[in-house]
Every structure is written in C-alpha cells, then in structure tokens.
C-alpha cells in the first residue's frame, strides 16, 4: 500500500473539520447585509482607490533570490542523507557548489540588491 495514504486521510479529516466549523458558524451566525458593511475596511472611510496597484519591485527581487537559494537547499538535502556513502568525492563536489552560491550571494550583496530604502 502507498505509504502516503495516511497523509491524504489526514488532509481530508482536517479539511472536513475546517469546513464543519465554517458550516456551523454559517448556520448559527446572524446574516444582516447592507451596502456600507460590505465595503472593505478603511478606518471608517470609503476606499477611494483599488488596493491592487503596483508594489515595490524589491519584492520580486526577493522572490527571485529565494528561487536560487532554495534550489541550493534542495540539492543539499539528498547530499546530507548520503553524506557517508558519497565520501570525499561528494564532500568536495558540494563544497564547490556552496562556494559558487556564496560568490553569488556576495555579488548580489555588493550590487546593493539586498538594501531596502
């Protein structure tokens, strides 16, 4: 049997619990609708602009760096498990890999991509 079946059952149970709680509050809770209440919260004022406008490009940069460094950790994971079997060969290979990434981090840092101002 597939060992991940319990994960699926757990996901189903948890989703059912969450849905049950929401169903209960939908059933019990009051339902009074009027136009002003359905407006987005804005400290008592009606919102004038749509919130979905452009936001700082810094956030995209951070997301890109994350992809690069997350790949690193993805490669480190199997290496960490097979550390003994791979011996000196695997050790040297991984050190070269981490060195290249460290150079990348230093480059990004020196170019000022990590500054927030």
């Amino acid at each position: 049997m597939n060992p991940y079946v319990p994960v699926l059952i757990m996901l189903f149970l948890a989703a059912a619990t969450a849905a049950g709680m929401i169903a209960a509050t939908t059933w019990i809770g009051p339902k009074k609708k009027f136009a002003d209440k359905m407006e987005p919260f804005e400290c008592g004022e009606s919102p004038i602009v749509n919130p979905k406008q452009r936001f700082s490009v810094k956030f995209y940069l951070v997301a890109l760096f994350f992809v690069i460094f997350d790949i690193e950790t993805v490669f480190v994971y199997p290496w960490a498990v097979l550390f003994r079997e791979l011996n000196w060969f695997g050790f040297v290979e991984m050190m070269i890999f981490i060195f290249i990434l460290a150079v990348g981090l230093i480059y990004v840092w020196r170019r000022g991509a990590l500054e927030w101002d």
């Binding site: 319990p6 757990m10 996901l11 209960a24 359905m38 407006e39 919260f41 003994r84 927030w116």
Partner: protein
C-alpha cells in the same frame, strides 16, 4: 508481514483512531495556548490575565470559541468570493499533517516515515500560500500589504531554517524522526550544534509570524494584516492554524535539538518519554511567548537584512564546518 498488517481492519482502525486523537489534541492544544499566551502576557505586565471563566480563566478560550461560532461571516462585496472562502480552510488543513510524523514517544508516532522532516517542512510552507490567497482575495489594502510582507518574510527565513536543519541531518544521515531522536540518547544536539539550534529557533519565530517578527499583522500600522476582512470562525481558523503551527515548530525543535523523548544525558528519571517531549515543547512555547512581550517589533528592512546578511551566510558556514568536522573525525 507488513503487507498482511496493512490490509487488515485493525491497521485501519488504529490509523483512524490515531488521526482523530491528534486532531482533537491539536484543537485543545491551540485553545490552551491562547489561554497561556493571555496569562503570560498578563503576568509579564503585572496583571492577572483572564480570571472569570473557570479556575484561573481556563475555560475562557472555549467560551471565546463558542462566541466566534455565533458571529456573522462577512464576505466583502469587492472580495474574490471563491478564494476568500477557501483561504481559511487552506491555511488550517496542511498544518495538521505534521502531527502524522511528530515523535511524541518511542512508540507514539502515527507514521514514522523516511521523509518525516521533509514532510513537515513541505506542508508548513503551504500556510504562506494560504495567507497570500486570503490577503489578495480580501481586496483590502491592509490585507494585501500584510500578505505581501508575509510572503517576503517567509521566503527569506525559509532558507536559513532549512540549512540549519541540514547540519543535524548531516550528523544522522536520515529524515526519519525516530532515528533523529535516537541519535540524541546521550547528548542533545543543542550542545553539538548550538548555532544551528539558535538559527532554527529564530527562523521558527519568524515563520510563525510571531513578535518581534510579526510585521505581516502589525496591528499598529496594518489593522490586522492579512486577516483584516475575516470574521467569525474564518478568522478563528487562521488563529487556530497559527497556534498549531507554533506547537509544531517547537515540537520539531524539541526532536531535532533537545533530545525528543529522551531525558538529559541519558537519564530519564523513570518519567515516560511523552512527558519529556511535551514538557520540553511547552517550555519552548513559553519562550516564544516570552519573546513577544520582551522584544519590540523590528522594522521591515531590518527583518530582511537580518535574514539575508546574517542568518543565511551563518547557516551556510555552519553547514560547511559541520561537514568538514564530520569528514575529519
């Protein structure tokens, strides 16, 4: 033998009972933690905290929960209806999967999977996605700002978190929780890997959006952050997920660095393993709450710089040194 057991009814019965028990445990635990948080907050500020409902206010959070169920579920007119409705379910569901592999005791693991640690990290990342979905769908500027900040923060702190855990995996060569804990029978890894333990705990604080890293829901500037528009039990689900997440990161810290179900230095004092495990986890949870009422909130640029310029280089260095020492001895 496994195949025969796998197909029998007793196997399924045991599995389902285990799952239901952790489901109930996680909910009671979240309620208890909310109460504890308020008590700790009260006592640190020289107040008593909740006192009225039950002995020392112990039933306060249950009453609060019932109140939340009785509240109206408001879906703002401009919200993305479908995403807005599924976000709370999405944040609550993956959190509970971690309980499947947490090692509560030598024979109290529901499934001791060979990818245990990886499974927990894979599913705990889901909550960030759910927060982004919720904040985006609200169509509210506070919610959107909170969600964007939350993603940037989670993304930045994910890397040192995974790297610091890696240096422990290097020593054990396994993701299986039983093997990770058994390796600490004599010496806890916190003594062998103090830097990794420190980095892990800082990142765990940030990943759970706890103060001093709680800028995604900084109430003094963003009202309530990503859950500004959520009411009733939808808000309650975000809350439950957050406190369950706190328990999980502390339980993982206990089993990776503080010996899991083992007592200190191989002495168990005839106390069962599950008591050791829970005691250590709740001490770490207390430390998380202690942080909240001790440190002021950091600014966003400080937060990002601390991860990219301090924690990531430090955790890479720690990994390299660990590998080198393991090769040389």
């Amino acid at each position: 033998m496994m195949e025969a057991a796998a197909t029998s009814g007793a196997y399924w019965l045991r599995l389902i009972i285990g799952l239901v028990i952790v489901l109930i445990f996680s909910q009671l635990n979240a309620l208890f933690l909310v109460w504890l948080e308020r008590k700790v907050a009260g006592h640190i500020q020289v107040r008593l905290g909740p006192m009225e409902v039950g002995p020392h206010g112990l039933l306060q959070t249950i009453v609060d929960g019932i109140k939340l169920v009785g509240k109206e579920l408001i879906t703002p007119a401009r919200a993305d209806r479908i995403l807005f409705v599924i976000a709370p379910v999405l944040v609550f569901t993956p959190v509970l999967v971690a309980f499947l592999v947490l090692p509560f005791g030598p024979d109290l693991i529901i499934r001791d999977m060979n990818v245990g640690l990886l499974l927990i990290f894979a599913f705990s990342t889901f909550s960030v996605l759910a927060i982004l979905v919720g904040g985006w769908a609200s169509n509210n500027k506070y919610a959107l700002l909170g969600a964007i900040r939350s993603v940037a923060q989670a993304v930045a702190y994910e890397i040192p978190l995974l790297l610091s855990v890696m240096s422990v995996v290097l020593m054990v060569n396994s993701f299986r929780f039983s093997e990770l804990v058994m390796a600490q029978q004599r010496v806890w890894f916190v003594f062998l890997q103090p830097v990794a333990a420190l980095i892990y705990f800082i990142c765990a604080t940030a990943e759970t959006n706890r103060a001093p890293f709680d800028i995604p829901e900084a109430e003094s500037e963003l009202v309530a952050g990503f859950h500004t528009e959520y009411s009733g039990m939808r808000f309650g689900l975000f809350f439950l997920a957050e406190y369950t997440n706190m328990f999980i990161v502390c339980a993982v810290a206990t089993s990776l660095f503080f010996g899991g179900w083992h007592g200190p230095f191989g002495f168990s004092f005839k106390i069962p393993g599950v008591v050791w495990f829970l005691a250590k986890t709740y001490v770490l949870l207390y430390v998380l709450m202690w942080f909240r009422w001790t440190f002021p909130r950091v600014r966003f640029d400080q937060l990002m710089n601390f991860s990219w310029k301090v924690l990531i280089p430090l955790s890479m260095l720690n990994l390299v040194i660990t590998a080198l020492v393991l090769k040389l001895i």
